[in-house]
């Protein structure tokens, strides 16, 4: 086995390292990171990208080099050297991946923990999700939820509070419901229901996610957060938006023919803008309530909200009648 001279190897190694380091930071593959947690994920991704680039280059360079250097010369009937293995070398290339995955594993664990993935009591506040949206219930919910035992799940299904915020209530609870083929956002503190997600910048938000019919998945690429909405189960995402703007909310789990059209947007805005929006929604909601005295306000506002979407998507009014938000 011919190994190039030490100096060539050294230079190649340095170039390879530099290229990997550079590409790991400049791959330009990720969208904007707009939540407090997103840069953590990006740091992890960049690190893995650096390592991956290095390994990619090693393998491809060896292959391409061999393609030219070791091609069989015409009229050479002899075989290559009878090398069956090299134990130190084999130990080396078992150990290197082992060390790499150890580092990647620990780093991933750390990031996941900082995001709030390991929050053991993340099911706090599910009461709020179950509460009806009548004005009188709000106060009760707010006082109840601090210490109420959770209904069905003790472990976080989804991403909970980051370690600093564990045990504390989020600044804002929002119930997210996925249904064929729309997202509905309900603000239990004010009873507002909307088809777009509005969140105030810098405030910790908790989404209580559920589904009415089939499995959907709530995904905001700019938050680097995704969680399935599963019928019969409750899942959650907790995050703090950082940069104001409008970003897509995408359904990532196949949910039927219009799955690709199941989109809306999240609007991250200043607390003042958020309050203004909330007031206008409350006012609009009040009008709805006045118009439909005997009807469950939750169902009513959903249907009203959904009608324009439904027509676009070919859902008939029967389907809408069956909608039920718990």
């Amino acid at each position: 086995m011919k190994i190039p001279s030490n100096i060539t190897t050294l230079i190649a190694g340095i170039v390879l390292t530099l290229v990997s380091l550079w590409y790991g930071q400049n791959h330009n593959l990720l969208p904007e990171a707009v939540s407090e947690e997103a840069p953590l994920v990006d740091g992890l991704f960049n690190m893995m990208m650096t390592v991956a680039t290095g390994l990619f280059l090693i393998v491809q360079c060896v292959l391409i080099y061999s393609l030219f250097k070791f091609r069989k010369r015409p009229n050479d009937p002899t075989d290559g050297p009878p090398i069956h293995g090299n134990v130190p070398l084999e130990i080396l290339w078992t150990a290197i991946p082992a060390v790499i995955i150890l580092i990647v594993g620990i780093y991933s664990f750390e990031v996941y923990n900082s995001m709030g993935g390991l929050d053991p009591m993340a099911a706090h506040g599910t009461m709020a999700h179950h509460s009806k949206m009548s004005g009188a219930a709000i106060a009760a919910t707010l006082t109840d939820e601090t210490d109420s035992p959770t209904t069905n799940n003790q472990l976080a299904l989804g991403v909970g509070a980051s370690p600093e915020e564990q045990g504390q209530n989020p600044d804002l609870n929002i119930n997210v419901t996925g249904l064929q083929f729309a997202w509905i956002f309900n603000y239990p503190d004010s009873g507002v229901t909307a088809g777009e997600l509005h969140v105030p910048v810098g405030r910790e938000v908790k989404l209580n996610i559920s589904a009415n019919d089939v499995i959907h998945a709530f995904w905001v690429p700019q938050f680097r957060l995704k969680q399935d909405a599963i019928p019969g189960r409750e899942t959650q995402l907790r995050f703090t938006p950082k940069i104001p703007g409008t970003y897509p909310v995408i359904c990532a789990e196949l949910c039927g023919s219009y799955h690709g059209a199941m989109k809306t947007q999240v609007i991250v805005e200043t607390p003042e803008e958020f309050d203004t929006w909330m007031q206008s929604q409350i006012a609009a909601n009040q009008e709805n309530l006045n118009q439909a005295v005997a009807v469950n306000p939750a169902n009513m506002s959903n249907s009203e909200f959904l009608t324009p979407y439904a027509q676009e998507m070919g859902i008939n009014s029967d389907t809408l009648q069956q909608l039920h938000i718990h």
Partner: protein, 561 residues
């Protein structure tokens, strides 16, 4: 005179070259000859591959533009569902295990046939009905819930098509189990005297690992699908939340099979590559035992990582962490294989024929899928890219860049043995170049699409993704065109190609120690194991020159006896 030329003639006897061509009708009937069955598998599954490829072309045509404007949304969902089902259950799994496993295992271990020839034929004859059943479901509205068929969607989305889909997959799964039993018994019981496990070619080690994996995991898929069919037609509620069932339980059962399925689809190719690279690099495989044991390790680890497909589903945090670490550990045995292949090539004398090009292409492309696989194993990153085009890119780098490149390498490598004819190498190289270009053009951009925010299984997408999607569609068309030179080359060469000698590549494994194609009983005389499978580079120039074959044989018989 090298060692191989001696061995070449050693097992041939005088009756060589009497069995060329043969009766083509045997390929259309119930044959119990493992070689006929192997070829039946390969040809049948290749036809399904072309059908699955046509469906992929239709999917890419829909995605050429951001709007849903080519076929209806329902039909689009059926297209990608049936595309995946065909590629997995009717092409890669049966071609890699049923096709190459059947053809090669008895020859490689010096047996006359498989342990249970009739069972073998039965297993094959479940494939065509399974496939035809699946395709016929298009008449009633084929399944459109993805190949994962997650309830509750699969329970409410075109029940007739879904039911046919379940029946078809059950049939194909049963065929796979029957095949695995056969491989396992054959490999363990029917090896030539003197061939210990450590004298087996590495393909046999891979098939040993695969068969164990099939036997453990496939019954769980069958269980999941049977329960799903009860929910579907009998109104039970195993997985249906409206009756108190839990859809997440289905996901666990499904992935308990379907993650190992990835290794069922790649381990046979790992084995083939380990056998092809040394022959055309003229060098022994580097680290035989490491490669053999890493197959076993992958097979075992493959059983305990399934929930990495469920990181955004209803899985608690500790489960996510466990499956993240278990998944990352697979990188170690996989890395061992890749580095061993590189070391095998390094310093060799590479004959860059079509088989070798596809073999090296396999290593090159598979590595990309492996690296993105580590990224996907990391929970925080997976939460972002799960169910996006990043995953589509990853799985195609593993299953196309890996498995299909591996299948092509195997087809070119063993074509002379199977048909007794040589393929046209120029057209083979053109096929390789077109495949490599088309493949990367199609799937490389998908990494960026997924990271930027394009979910998978959508018929329409944000117009800002139009450029990269168009690129992918062009790549898919090149990929479609790339099969044309292969098909013409293979058919033409099978009929008119130059006659192949018994051992055109001067390989050392036993399948080359008999005529091309081999006689019904495989070897004209009792085969003799007289060299390790990878003992390249031992030159007999000096002592070997004067001795006659008989003298050498006598020596060997003493050694073996």
């Amino acid at each position: 005179m090298t060692q191989l030329q001696v061995t070449d003639s050693a097992n041939l006897g005088n009756t060589a070259e009497t069995n060329t061509g043969g009766d083509w009708r045997k390929y259309f009937g119930f044959s119990t000859d493992h070689k006929v069955i192997g070829i039946q598998y390969l040809v049948t599954t290749f036809v399904f591959y072309l059908i699955g490829g046509a469906l992929a072309a239709a999917v890419r045509t829909e995605l050429a533009t951001p709007d849903s404007d080519f076929v209806s949304r329902e039909l689009y969902n059926s297209f990608f569902t049936i595309h995946a089902t065909i590629m997995i259950f009717l092409w890669i799994v049966p071609a890699g295990t049923g096709g190459f496993g059947n053809y090669l295992i008895p020859l490689m271990i010096g047996a006359k046939d498989m342990a249970f020839p009739k069972l073998n034929a039965v297993a094959f004859w479940m494939i065509p009905p399974g496939g035809i059943l699946l395709l016929s479901s298009f008449f009633v509205g084929a399944a459109g819930s993805g190949w994962t068929s997650y309830p509750p969607l699969s329970l409410i989305n075109g029940q007739a098509g879904e039911f046919i889909w379940i029946l078809s997959v059950l049939l194909l799964g049963t065929s796979s189990i029957l095949g695995a039993v056969n491989f396992l018994v054959t490999l363990l019981k029917m090896r030539l005297p003197g061939m210990g496990l450590h004298q087996m070619p590495l393909f046999c080690w891979a098939m040993l690992s695969v068969s164990a994996l099939v036997l453990v995991s496939t019954p769980v898929l069958a269980g999941a699908l049977i329960l799903l069919s009860f929910d579907l037609v009998a109104g039970t509620a195993f997985f249906n939340p409206t009756g108190g069932g839990d859809p997440v339980v289905y996901q666990h059962m499904f992935w308990f099979y379907s993650h190992p399925a990835v290794y069922i689809m790649i381990l046979p190719m790992f084995g083939m590559i380990s056998d092809i690279l040394p022959v055309h690099a003229r060098k022994p495989i580097f680290g035989y035992r490491a490669i053999a044991y890493s197959s076993l390790a992958i097979s075992f680890l493959g059983l305990i990582v399934w929930a990495h497909h469920m990181f955004t589903s209803g899985t608690p945090a500790w489960l996510r962490m466990f499956f993240m670490i278990a998944t990352m550990v697979i990188a170690i045995p996989t890395g061992i294989k890749v580095f061993s292949w590189l070391a095998t090539i390094w310093g060799g004398k590479l004959d860059l024929n079509s088989a070798m090009l596809f073999g090296m292409g396999f290593v090159s492309m598979f590595v990309i899928g492996g690296l993105s696989g580590i990224m996907l194993a990391s929970v925080p990153v997976d939460i972002h890219v799960h169910d996006t085009y990043f995953v589509v890119a990853h799985l195609h780098y593993v299953l196309f860049g890996g498995s299909v490149f591996g299948l092509y390498a195997g087809l070119y490598h063993w074509f002379p043995k199977m048909t007794g004819r040589m393929v046209n190498e120029t057209w083979g190289r053109i096929h390789f170049a077109l495949t490599l270009i088309g493949f990367n053009l199609c799937f490389l951009p998908m990494h960026k699409l997924g990271l930027e925010g394009m979910p998978r299984r959508v018929a329409e997408y944000d117009p800002k993704f139009a450029g990269l999607n168009l690129m992918a569609t062009v790549g898919a068309y090149i990929l479609a065109v790339s099969t044309i030179p292969f098909v013409i080359n293979a058919v033409w060469s099978w009929m008119y190609g130059p006659k192949a000698s018994a051992n055109p590549w001067k390989a050392l494994t036993l399948e080359w120690m008999t005529s091309s194609p081999p006689p019904v009983e495989n070897f004209h005389e009792e085969p003799i194991l007289w060299t390790g499978p990878y003992d390249y580079g031992i030159d007999f120039e000096e002592e070997g020159e004067e001795k006659s074959v008989e003298e050498l044989l006598a020596e060997v018989k003493v050694d073996v006896g």
